[in-house]
Amino acid sequence: MADEMKIGAYICKGCGIGERLDAGQLEMTATRDGKAKVCQQHDFLCSEAGVKMIQDDIDNEGVNHVVIAACSRRAKTEAFNFENVTLSRANLREGVIWVRPDTDDQQETTQEMADDYIRMACAESKFMHIPASSGQQSVNKNILIAGGGVSGMTAAIEASKAGYPCTIVEKTAALGGATAQLYKKIPTKAPYTDPEDNGVAELIAAVEADSNITVCLNSTLTKTAGAPGRFEADISTESGSTETKPFGAIVQASGFTPYDANQLPEFSYGKNKDVVTQAELEALAITANGGAIKRPSDGKEVQSVLFIQCAGQRSKKEGHLEHCSGYCCNASIKQAMYFKDQNADVDTTVLYTDLRTPGAGGENFYRSGQNKGITFRKGVASEVADGANPTVKFKDLILDEDLEQEVDLVVLATGMVANAGEPTREQITISENEAKEAGNEYKVSVESILNLDYRQGKDVPHMGNGFADSHFICFPYETQRTGIYTAGPTRRPMDSQQAMDDAMGAAMKAIAATENSGLGKAAHPRVADLSFPSVRLEGCTQCKRCTVECPFGAIDEDERGFPQFNESRCRRCGTCMGACPVRVISFENYSIDTVGQQLKAVDIPDEFDEKPRMLVLACENDAYPALDMAAQNKLEYSAFVRVIPVRCLGSVSLSWITDSLNSGYDGIMLMGCPSGDDYQCHFVKGSLMAQERMSKVGDTLESLSLEKERVQTFEISITDIHKVPKIINDMADTIEQIGMSPFKF
């Protein structure tokens, strides 16, 4: 900040603020307490005229720190959107008048509320700086694609079409992956009645024809360093040669591992050659190449075949997969058609419990299968008896009978096993617990695909069932490793068509990562945030909490144990700031001071005033909007509360708690997102960490001989609109019972 700070405070009198509050008084507070150099009132601040008034001050009066005292920071954002200034919002509408009754006896406390919010906004403003990119970045449009299957090739082709050069690193000697091993694939176009060519040849041709796509076969990633915009990947060939190349972003399309059917002895797999997996049947079909499919044992042309669905899947049994692989029903219909299309007299039976062919195409394909004479039976196979011909013992659930069927060939619809990524500390414990409950072991991949040299492990963290899926319904590509996007079965079980569509989305995200990291802009969810954490190394004690707790593995350590921040891996959640015991980590627009000074700016009446003060630190994504909407619905809450939005409870520094206790707050409420397996925190574990840290506050409270009820943490969903006011009012009651804090000066 070259030119000295000049705070301009602007007080809106619209939406009833003017009627309910003494604007003159507010102006005085802003100038006297808030040290605002300029302060103006306006009847309708978000109007063109109002906005122009502010812009004029910025242009002519040198105002560079703007304080808007009007509505919530979530309202009228498009109007209050100024360049090259810091912006603080004092929430007089949703934060004050809408949650307080319009009665004379309440006027005083309501005004106090408003005055405090002005002080707080000015205090924040004072300590905010205009973020400027670190310059650590430059745009690198090259995209690294791990895996040369249909997902990887699609990602490469599509990204290239948009002008982004790609490099495919494929472990094997050829492109095509699992799909290349398919005789045909499930239909992808209307009328969805017959298997389609697997399409791999066309993809490979397209890849080879594209000068923007580099293919490294027989190659693996032995090391991936850096960050979005400046990844450095070591691409090593079998022969041992290694080349290091720079990339802007990464798409991980490393596929899956087929389930090992040897874990299904009850189906005589391995014992009887004529019991095969779907994958093995594809091989037989390719050999037959349109002719009669011959069975492995004696080369006899298959006259009867039975497909056992969900073999080793959808089961908590040891060694089984708990999930459904999603594609196997369609795959069995397709494979049964291999037989039927060649010879309608072949007897084909699909034994299923739930036939899963969703979507527009699926039902057509199912009907087509029936029309071709495939017999579908709802039933569960208990055993495949070995013998000249395998005999399937099963319970037909419709006929409610135990039956046997002797067939030439049995096909096991075994599923997909995740083959990449590694579990985070939490997930290891979670999945271990799950495993214990479920009585099975989770297969955690040992092989690393990316070999990240990150402080927090070599791969993108697992989600459920070992897949590197997104945890978020609304954001399917959100991984915990910025700039690295998983696609295809790496993410979750899916067929090749879905995988290709998925890869295209992943390519889109990778492109966004290259562009935004190049500009120093944050990725989801604080998109376009230019600020980044900076650390006063001289104050750092090398405690490593920041590097351990960063949910995105953004921080490495140098050999001395000092944190090394990678701006473009960072999501700006502030978890590191909250973790740092010595308060040396901060952002230009969000720091220990921007919050700490706010809570100190609040005017704390003395003990005998019977005006307690409560502090709410509210997650900006859920709790704060919930409070807003409570106000919008005119749900009242105590006038003694002061709310400060935080980026995430993970960013809450203990110092804020101790400071507020010391400055005489009577109660402190932390409001974050629900935690647990289905956590809603977009920074992964904010609430969890807040709870952990607050558990330690107990001692502090004790040392100050304060009741533990004074500091409480709540899990709030954005929909808890009725709950938040209640929580606040309950705290007010509690304080009435336990009395005011003695620490008021």
Binding site: A162, R314, C324, G326
Partner: protein, 428 residues
């Protein structure tokens, strides 16, 4: 509206639901100019009407908050609400769209202070709640509405109520003379994300949706859980407001049925599994849920959720397409007749409330679609070269759950970007 800048490098996104929003954001966040055309007064689409998402049971509003913040912060995105595409001409890299914008009667001055709603009396069906209740003639579509701007029902115009509203507005936001506008916009690529509509339950005659009060649809059931919904978040049935503890879910209501929707709508199984947890959430062990199904289609990791629900002793699964529903005239209970096909058991089961897991009908009308496009028998837009620069996103492309719709929309953003980048190159 004249101030909207649109060139043949602009991406036009038709539909502001979660798919449209996603496609728009992904494109805009890599610097593309995007215009979103939304038919209703606010963006967000169907997800704004959902209580929770499966399988996480998290709240759609949470992601909506993030997406809306992203949109508000992004200067590359222009949103036109109450707007519809009436015509589309041209080819990839050079489209002209004709947009009809209906009057909102409330301009950008609106601060959503609610003064207008306080004074008006007239009430109108609340579309946000599938017309299960009414809202004021001046209204905010819902708590999260974006743009956060009130709307005047067209029915208000010319009434004293409308004048009252206008007089109550201190910021001159109400403009009763607002007229329908037609504008033309250039675009290089078009992302079609018009989503889906619930199949008309009345057409499934044996289930008596049009005759029996206590037969409702899954989308309506979803609204009952919303504290700001038609029942204030109470799980009560329409006929008499009695708590609905014994609830039946009928799967494939309209789906997988050649007489109705040929396709499987994919979401309904998971939706009912999810909604079964609502009943438990409200009534604990008094909850009694029966799910009548043909196949439970909880694919991939959704099956883990299915297994959870299966472990709930208050939930029963019956493999049966219910034959018909009659009303018990004494107590208003719907009585379901049918056969459990697993071992052949006939039943005539009485429930407090029946929820039809209603099928997903794409909002793509083959006949009135503004431009030549490949649409399959199910009514979904097929991914096809012949579609030029028009790309389906989300449920215009297939019956998809939210997660898959967003994933698909992200992919379609790239498809559109490829086109406008080609244009950009050509123009140098």
């Amino acid at each position: 509206m004249s101030d909207i800048v649109a060139t043949n490098q602009t991406i036009l996104v038709v539909g502001g639901g979660i798919s449209g929003m996603t496609a728009a954001l992904e494109a805009a966040e890599v610097g593309k100019q995007v215009i979103v055309i939304e038919k209703t007064p606010s963006v967000g689409g169907r997800v704004t009407k959902l209580y929770k998402y499966f399988p996480k049971l998290c709240f759609p509003t949470c992601g909506l908050e993030i997406n809306q913040r992203r949109m508000a912060a992004n200067k590359n995105i222009t949103v036109l609400t109450m707007a519809e595409v009436t015509d589309l001409q041209g080819e990839a890299g050079n489209y002209t769209a004709t947009i009809k914008v209906s009057p909102r009667y409330v301009n950008a001055n609106c601060t959503a202070c609610g003064a207008c709603a306080d004074v008006v009396e007239a009430e109108f069906d609340d579309e946000h709640n599938y017309n299960m209740n009414k809202h004021k003639g001046a209204y905010l579509p819902h708590n999260m509405a974006m743009p956060k701007r009130y709307v005047l029902e067209p029915g208000m115009i010319g009434t004293d109520d409308a004048q009252k509203a206008k007089d109550a507005c201190k910021v001159d936001a109400i403009d009763l003379d607002m007229q329908e506008e037609t504008i033309e916009l250039k675009a290089g690529a078009v992302i079609w994300a018009t989503g889906w509509r619930p199949y008309d339950a009345a057409k499934i005659q044996p289930y008596g949706y049009d005759r029996i009060d206590n037969v409702i649809t899954s989308v309506e059931f979803e609204r009952l859980m919303d504290p700001f919904g038609p029942t204030g978040g109470k799980l009560v049935r329409p006929s008499d407001g009695k708590e609905a503890k014994n609830v039946a879910f009928i799967q494939c209501a309209g789906s997988r049925d050649i007489n109705h929707l040929k396709h499987c709508s994919r979401i309904c199984c998971m939706a009912s599994l999810k909604q079964s947890t609502y009943v438990s959430e409200k009534f604990g062990d008094d909850a009694n849920v029966s799910i009548y199904y043909i196949d439970i289609r909880a694919i991939d990791r959704f099956d883990n959720f299915y297994q959870k629900v299966q472990d709930d002793k208050n939930v029963t699964f019956i493999k049966s397409k219910v034959a018909n529903i009659v009303e018990n005239k004494e107590n208003g209970n719907p009585v379901l007749n049918g056969v459990d096909t697993e071992g052949y058991e006939r039943y005539a089961n009485e429930h407090d409330l029946v929820v039809l897991a209603i099928g997903m009908e794409p909002s793509v009308d083959k006949d009135t679609f503004p431009i030549e496009i490949k649409v399959n028998d199910e009514g979904f837009i097929e991914q096809d070269e012949a579609n030029g620069g028009v790309f389906a996103a989300g449920c215009s492309s297939d019956a998809l759950d939210v997660n898959r719709a967003v994933q698909n929309a992200t992919a379609s953003a790239l498809r559109a970007i490829q086109v406008v980048n080609r244009v950009a190159q050509a123009e140098g």
